[in-house]
Symmetry: C2
Subunit: 383 residues, 2 copies
């Protein structure tokens, strides 16, 4: 498949880059945030709604689709893009993280990962080759190699052994590539150990991948440690390929990682928060179920122009949430994703205009922005 | 509020009429089917989607909105239309049916109905005057009088007493009308007793209501009995006002009632069925969870042009349903409502074109149409 990454502008105040990724299903700008479509749907939204809030590419979970409905069914029905009615870029993960976080009785061997399905307890073996085959059948635009995710904290020796295995798996993944395969990204592991991160990155960069991810972060470690690990890793990654921070994160996490040189993000945070009634505003986070919103006729965010903020009051959204109505998840998800897409757009425009440092200083000086409760300070515009 | 009903054409083969109802929030064609927006949302859909499938007017439940979030909150926020972002006609019921079917420990007295909320057990008294006040505050276009719904079967003497009470309540409702009130419809009761239906209808028609509903049907009685009761009642209703069959029904129920002279319908059937994975097709009903659809790349109905049928396969819809995805309810509801709206449109066009008898004969000869399992016979077009 076609794949190309161009850096359009580098930031003078940091390692941030403005770029563009081209695939056979169209191109998208970086830094980019990919919403998570676990089972072939960004929960509650249609593809048209994703486009309307500014989504250009999505992530789908190989582990979930392999188990349900099964990649072979999807393949026979024309591939994932056709199946889910999304004709733009799709990145699929490798399942490594889900095997680590969801599957039962997992056993890692040289061959691959044996585990019990979290759905029906059935036994499965996923090898590096099999994971590539699944992503090939799904018709992904960007595929990830199988990796082993280690818990936090993990002892040094365990992580060292694991990094070697992940490296050998990456080599096997590369060895069986075919001509029309998805672009293939490797995943740097190494836990919270600087030398192991370096070792992992160097070994993977010696091979010829089209992108590099940093995995095994946002697994419970302190934020400061997460940023340190990113900082240790990036110097060993090539300049001219995309760098992807998996499973991250909050708006401030994203802004800081962009400054360290990250190009791609995915996270369930905006969509899951939405379904739990946690909504972003320019002045902080609000929990829509609170009694203070019972008669609040204002939109979630008065500066936001998303569909939800154009037409619905906090009072109505609170009522829908407390009533368990499906429309609650929809309207909240539209708003939160709109905020994230707008944040990324603001970041890209700041890089283009040489204003990223300003944006960062404004944002980080206001404590943790969207991560904290609402205040009177205006932060990044929302909609 | 403004209200007007015009009969545009009468059918020569039956008592069916093609009409148009005008309200301050626009007009809609009859015979009409109003989807049920229990808590101020047609479950899972936005107002824009309702318009797209052809919905012109909706029903909202006074009982539910009175309890949650409370009519006074809705009133202070500008009324129901503003609150739920729907600027077209809204009919509100009176709560009589919900007091009968949902509330606990209900006690009917001359004054009104005392009951315990099904949500929190709190005690409430709804009188005919209070129910009018609630609908006035909601800003409904068409309001219903409070009635007593009796169970099926009920003894003659009980129903006779109840009909008298419902009549007195209707008189009290009328007595306190104000200038800008919603249009007010009375509800004929009388159980399955011919003379009591006649008595109820005659007494209510002596008063000056803008429409008449037939209540207390579709409560467990045989279909043939339901049709008999409609046939007993309609001759006593005035020709020039809308006739509304509450809580009905299946496509065949609707087609038969239209021929008896009914103009308005509401029912949770298409929307509830959708959420349960029961989908209408031109050849019968299908249950999308069945294994036979696991790899079925066809739309629900190949002749349907709704959003769901344009873009998604049965296999994907089955996958979403089995995965409990929110998008499942959305896509299924769009399809089923689209079928209902198309059925009503087909009925209206048949009246206009003098082809209602043909439509009825084709439809009823094919057994029970959408009510039965899918077959090879083509029935009413779906989308």
């Amino acid at each position: 498949m076609g794949f190309r990454f161009d850096i359009l502008k580098k930031d003078s105040s940091s390692d941030a880059r403005l770029g563009r990724i081209e695939t056979d299903h169209g191109s998208f700008s970086t830094p980019a945030f990919l919403p998570v479509g676990t089972l072939g749907t960004i929960k509650s939204l249609t593809p048209e709604e994703l486009v309307e809030v500014g989504v250009e590419a999505i992530l789908a979970n190989t582990y979930h689709l392999y188990l349900k409905p099964g990649h072979e069914i999807i393949g026979r029905l024309g591939g994932l893009h056709t199946f889910i009615h999304w004709d733009r870029p799709v990145l699929t993960d490798s399942g490594g993280y889900q095997i680590f976080s969801l599957a039962k009785l997992r056993k890692i061997s040289e061959e691959g990962a044996t585990f019990q399905s979290h759905i029906d307890g059935s036994l499965h073996l996923l090898t590096p080759e099999r994971v590539m085959e699944i992503q090939r059948i799904l018709g992904s635009d960007i595929a990830m190699v199988l990796d082993e995710c280690v818990p936090y904290p993990s002892p040094y020796d365990y992580v060292k052994t694991s990094v070697s295995l992940t490296t050998r798996w990456a080599k096997r993944s590369l060895a069986q590539r075919r001509e029309n395969d998805p672009a293939l990204f490797a995943i740097v592991q190494g836990g919270m150990y600087r030398d192991l991160r370096e070792q992992s990155a160097k070994a993977l960069v010696e091979m010829d991948f089209q992108g590099y991810a940093i995995g095994g972060l946002s697994v419970g470690e302190p934020k400061s440690l997460m940023r340190e690990v990113i900082g240790w890793t990036i110097p060993f990654l090539p300049e001219n390929v995309p760098r992807y921070l998996m499973g991250v994160g909050t708006p401030l996490d994203i802004l800081e990682a962009v400054r360290l040189g990250i190009d791609l993000f995915d996270c369930v945070l905006p969509t899951r928060n939405a379904r739990n009634g946690m909504l972003f505003t320019a002045t902080g986070r609000i929990s829509i179920k609170q009694a203070q919103y019972a008669e609040d006729g204002r939109p979630i965010d008065e500066g936001c122009t998303c569909y939800t903020c154009r037409h619905y009051s906090r009072a109505y959204l609170r009522h829908l949430y407390l009533s368990g109505e499906i429309l609650s998840s929809r309207l909240n998800t539209i708003h939160n994703l709109s905020c994230y897409m707008n944040l990324l757009k603001t970041i890209r425009e700041a890089i283009r205009g040489g204003r990223l440092l300003d944006l960062y200083q404004t944002y980080s000086s206001q404590s943790d922005g969207w991560e904290r409760e609402s205040s009177n300070h205006s932060l990044v515009a929302c909609g």
